[in-house]
Amino acid sequence: MIDKKAFEIVVIGAGHAGCEAGLAAARLGMKTAVFCTNLESVAMMPCNPSIGGTGKGHLVREVDALGGEMGINIDKTFIQSKMLNTSKGPAVHSLRAQADKHRYHDEMLKTLKNQENLDLIEAEIIDVLTDDEGAVCGVVTAEGTEIGCKALIICTGTFLAGRIFIGEEVKESGPDGLSPATTLAERLRAKGFPMRRFKTGTPARMTAESLNYEAMKEQTGDERIVPFSFLNEDKEYEMDQISCWLSYTNEDTHRIIMDNIEKSAMYSGNIVGVGPRYCPSIEDKVSRFRDRKRHQLFVEPEGLDTNLMYIQGMSSSLPRDVQKDFYSTIPGLENAEIVKPAYAIEYDCIDPLSLKPSLENKEVPGLFCAGQFNGSSGYEEAASQGLIAGINAVCKLKGKSPLVLRRDQAYIGVLIDDLVTKGTNEPYRIMTSRAEYRLLLRQDNADRRLTEIGREYGLVTDERYERYCKKKDKVDAEVKRLRNKRVDISTFRAFLERCGELQAETASNQTFAEMLARPGVSYDALAEIDDERPELGLNEKIEVEVILKYDGYIKKQINEVEKLQNLENKRLNEGLDYNSISGLRLEARQKLSEIRPRTVGQASRISGVSPADINVLLVYLEKMRREEKE
């Protein structure tokens, strides 16, 4: 018995993807239910207790600019903040915060509970119901209750057919000992979804008191704390940050690991799932890179009210006793008390090539997918997809066209486009090197790139929007002023000399913008020869400086983007029969028929589709257009 009016949107899973999806749907006015097998799993961090990092920090900023929750939640609950990559340019500055994982969970739980239109329900979903037309119409709980919905978002993370490995020990389990979603996995496979098996792992947790900090190097947070959320931009953070600790493995560690390597679940052949190369277990690192005398590891507190420490860099699927032996060879961990051993976890996920760029399944209308279920890895990657899936599920019900971010607009666009266009053979992690328009996709301009879009889709509040407009106007005005204001050559030369830059080879008067483009000249430094400077906040200053400093490179990238824009705007019909286009090469026909890209731009990124194939496609489209007209 289905109560069709029960919910408009159902979300399975309340991890980082599920929370964003549920909040987005509810905030956009949909009657929404978020199901989880255990309330403890809400916004749980089963692996590292941190948010952000290279590329990932960018994602959080983007989620925030679009009106998502992750940035706000980590700003409430971080215990250390650090801007990475500051020795490089602003495009790859990346924010990372250590989270108090329990408070992170608590705060998100509170947000969900207080959210209008949203019901958070502790129940296992074991099946998906479809109507006569094959569209999603409901779900079934473990108790057999059928719950109706118009759109469904699957965000099952590592719970779906989760299986944990510690040496020879194997057990069906979700992360952190929570129960897995086994029946749902069976039903999804039975329905013929292209499922696959991925694997990831996590290191041991140790008690804080059992470690010797004298033997490790302290890693402190930044003096100036930069928050993730645009809403907190002007907030001053006064707090005592906790420290992390750096230590290294040594040859003893490596010997113990190599002596016992065949006991590792990875080597025993028990694990069939594919693990990520960028997150290798310690036995992988040691056996693959034998010339490395040491590997680094970070000891990270899991929160303020817990004594558990996370050992970053040391995931493993070796047996408990071997773990104890090799961990204790590490300076600082000699007498470590292991509370939870390291383990590997295998789970089911879907081949993302079966999804549209909107994250809706190609075969089952109304079924949206997000997070690890789509073959990605990482909290931030999950949150990004959850937000987009949530927004697009609503768009679907409202008959609006979905939000598909382009690769030149957001890392989120890169992430999703990679997944649905190229697919992935391992858990997918974002990296700045995956983004070809890196100079445009900076974390400092996420608000500028995405606030308007978030506003259009309805998740950007009035408050955020007003603040954004104010900041944008101020920055734009200042950029314009600096582009027009000139400084005479003698002042300029004298200034450069004070900056320690002596090559003042230019003969003509320069604008402030031109001066700022020189290496070694900063916006702040220019203040001494600039008498008309407006009052700007720190972030406004940064934005002005970046815009002008990298003007040339940014323009070059914008030029690249514009050249391809034409292809991005050319839509491809979902039902297009590529086999009927005679000029396409065989491989291109096969790939295009399988992936069914949404635009010619997306088609051009499919491996096996050549530039000539794209030209053929363009001519074919034009032919069809004219034939229709006739």
Binding site: V92, P276, R438, G520, N559, G583, S607
Partner: protein, 470 residues
């Protein structure tokens, strides 16, 4: 803004006229840049006769050729975009130089047209009717296949092998840069100055490899310089009159190649659609004279470097010792790459084809007289023979080959420019991720030569070479 594209758009050879075509927003500015003594106002759809130069603002810029310029304003053009057509003499060498001048302007995102691109634009912009769609599609795929085929086949695949090697090295550098950017926490140091200068050194190696490739004779030497056709024979056999006749027939005298010695004279022409560098040698004869000895040495050197030899015999006299000496110099060469011209038929034929074939059994022989109309006749016959020889595949020198070569040259130039940029950025303390982009562009350019797509290879290299991750 859309790209501006350019290509040689006439079939090779037979025609006396060749056209370089430009389409896109940069057309007008490019015209101004390369048109010598241009009028103050350029009217669309008017023909202007003027010299082609690299840079019309530089009075020292050398004139490449005289040509007719016509500018057509969008949408009234073949492609429907702004267009420039430069009609010049049909020599492939000259057309190539004009195309190069166009591309070197760097105006309006100028680049080589892709295979079939003008036709594609014409169709997309509604300039061709629906019935032609299939034909357009065929052209695109056929031309594209041919282009890659040639890159692969060219010079026994050495070009693509070398490009692949260079790319491997560059890939390693890109992987290091990627690690430096994406893994600031890791135990690899790419931040300090030492690492930076090491990157600069490595990029310099790559740069010099690409420059070598651009400089060496291997890449499209024939396309750039033409087939080296060396004319040999004893003194007074008629070599110089032959040369003049060929140049008359070929219609195109481009420039005297600098560095010409007084003993050998080089001229450029196009015969049978094949760009030719003619080398007129000093006569070969046994001599004690020191000066003449040098001349003989140079001649033998010219023969050694020849793509093709044209032996001129005086048909009015029987083969003598001097002729035999000349034959001795060339008999080791492939007869496919040889032509024998028996001259002075009008003065009686003392040398029969059989006599020649005793020495060179498979050689092509032309009998003629170089006096009066005979000279033009001879040149035409030679032109046909050459056309045939090079069509037969001894050397691929079709128009497609030349264009493909030009594309390769452009891609290599592009790589050089970007590598240069990456190096100077690193030296000037610009951020790593900005320099990386330029290095990446260079990598992409090289990939285009061998038709390689940009895939996951950088990340694959990152994870196979570096131990990374939590």
């Amino acid at each position: 803004m859309a790209d501006t594209i350019a290509a040689i758009s006439t079939a090779p050879g037979e025609a006396g006229i060749g056209i370089v075509r430009v389409s896109g927003p940069g057309s007008m500015d490019i015209m101004k840049k390369i048109m010598e003594k241009r009028p103050p106002e350029i009217e669309p759809r008017h023909m202007y006769l003027a010299g082609v130069v690299k840079d019309s603002d530089n009075p020292l810029s050398e004139t490449i050729d005289q040509a007719l310029f016509a500018y057509m304003q969008a949408p009234a053009s073949y492609t429907g975009e702004d267009m420039l057509e430069i009609q010049a003499h049909g020599s492939a060498v000259s057309l190539k130089k004009i195309l190069e001048a166009v591309l070197d302007t760097g105006i309006g995102n100028i680049r080589m047209a892709e295979p079939g691109e003008f036709t594609k634009l014409a169709f997309l912009n509604g300039k061709m009717d629906l019935s032609q769609a299939e034909a357009v599609i065929d052209i695109i795929q056929a031309k594209s296949d041919l282009s890659l085929e040639i890159a692969e086949a060219q010079h026994e695949g050495r070009l693509s092998a070398t490009v692949k090697e260079i790319r491997e090295t560059l890939l390693d550098i890109l992987a290091e840069m990627a690690v430096g950017i994406d893994y600031p926490d890791e135990d690899y140091e790419f931040d300090d100055e030492g690492a930076n200068s090491e990157l600069v050194n490595k990029l310099r190696w790559v740069l010099s490899d690409v420059e070598d490739l651009l400089d060496t004779a291997d890449i499209g030497r024939i396309a750039r310089e033409g087939v080296k056709l060396v004319i040999v024979g004893k003194p007074n056999a008629g070599k110089s009159s032959l040369m003049n006749a060929i140049l008359g027939e070929g219609r195109v005298i481009v420039t005297d190649v600098p560095g010409t010695t007084r003993d050998t004279v080089e001229e450029s022409a196009s015969l049978g659609g094949v760009p030719i560098v003619l080398v007129d040698t000093a006569g070969i004869r046994e001599t004690g004279d020191k000066v003449e000895k040098i001349g003989v040495e140079r001649t033998t050197q010219a023969i050694a470097s020849a793509d093709m030899v044209l032996l001129v015999l005086d048909g009015s006299r029987e083969l003598d010792e001097e002729d035999n000496m000349v034959l001795g110099y060339i008999e080791h060469m492939s007869q496919e790459r040889m032509l024998v011209l028996i001259n002075k038929e009008d003065l009686g034929s003392s040398i029969s084809e059989e006599t020649v074939r005793e020495k060179l059994p498979n050689v092509r022989i032309i009998k003629t007289s170089l006096i009066g109309r005979g000279a033009a006749d001879a040149a035409r016959k030679i032109s046909e023979e050459i056309g045939e020889i090079f069509e037969l595949g001894s050397i691929k020198a079709s128009e497609m080959n030349i264009i493909t070569n030009e594309r390769h040259v452009q891609m290599l130039k592009n790589a050089v420019m970007n590598l240069d940029e990456a190096i100077s950025m690193l030296q000037n303390g610009e951020p790593l991720e900005v320099a990386e982009l330029s290095a990446h562009y260079a990598y992409d350019s090289l990939g285009k030569i061998i038709g390689e797509e940009v895939g996951d290879e950088i990340l694959n290299t990152v994870f196979s070479r570096f131990c990374l991750g939590k």
